[in-house]
Symmetry: C2
């Protein structure tokens, strides 16, 4: 049951997200894809983002501020979220997968993945602060 069938809408969404370096919300993606498929609906965008995230083609980032964001980058990496402007930035840092072992030591369940969000101020917001 549930064999995935090709759809140009899904393909287009996937390519769009994977080509962008920012971390767009579903709505931003909708606005972009609409320039190619003017009739696409927001529901279709949400449905496909969900499928693509389940397949591991893209990553869904949930922040406490506003809508979820999506990331099409393939290689594993972590994120920084600015507490002022809420921008999401990819971090270039060494692999820290070993924290999963540390986490699993006193834990009765089965840990298979993790997400780290780092918080603080991004470069732009530090600058703006100084100009106050």
């Amino acid at each position: 049951m549930g064999a995935l069938k090709y759809s140009r809408q899904r393909e287009s969404i996937k390519e769009l997200v994977q080509s962008r370096k920012d971390h767009p919300t579903a709505d931003m993606i909708y606005e972009s894809v609409r320039q190619i498929y003017p009739n696409i609906s927001l529901g279709t965008v949400y449905r496909n983002l969900s499928v693509l995230a389940d397949m591991g083609e893209i990553i869904k980032i949930s922040t406490s501020e506003g809508a979820d964001r999506f990331d099409g980058r393939r290689s594993p990496h972590n994120h920084f979220i600015c507490r002022q402007c809420h921008k999401v930035i990819d971090l270039e840092m060494e692999n820290i997968d070993y924290i999963m072992e540390k986490a699993g030591k006193n834990f009765a369940g089965d840990i298979d993945s993790y997400k780290v969000h780092f918080f603080g101020l991004c470069r732009e917001c530090i600058k703006n602060k100084k100009n106050d």
Copy 2:
């Protein structure tokens, strides 16, 4: 401006969250506090949870599944989230604050905190899976 004034509703919410070991949603907290202050409104609960989180008295946990959860535990710790039942569990693990330094190495902003969410199956869901 904005001096915080005492309110028994806020006090009650704070004590409730800090006394619980699960990770209730705003609505669960509302239902509980209502047993003491039957007229409290959900809006008041949300407003106070937000204030308490800003003050650092409680922690707000945003998951991609459903409503945000709140944690009143004082000492720093990390969370496990079951991908099946979405339960949130506190982890007893060694401190890994040093990952902030690793993250800051090639980054132009200022990192001051982080949150790690570990994912997988909790003990109960592993059991249930075996009984299929």
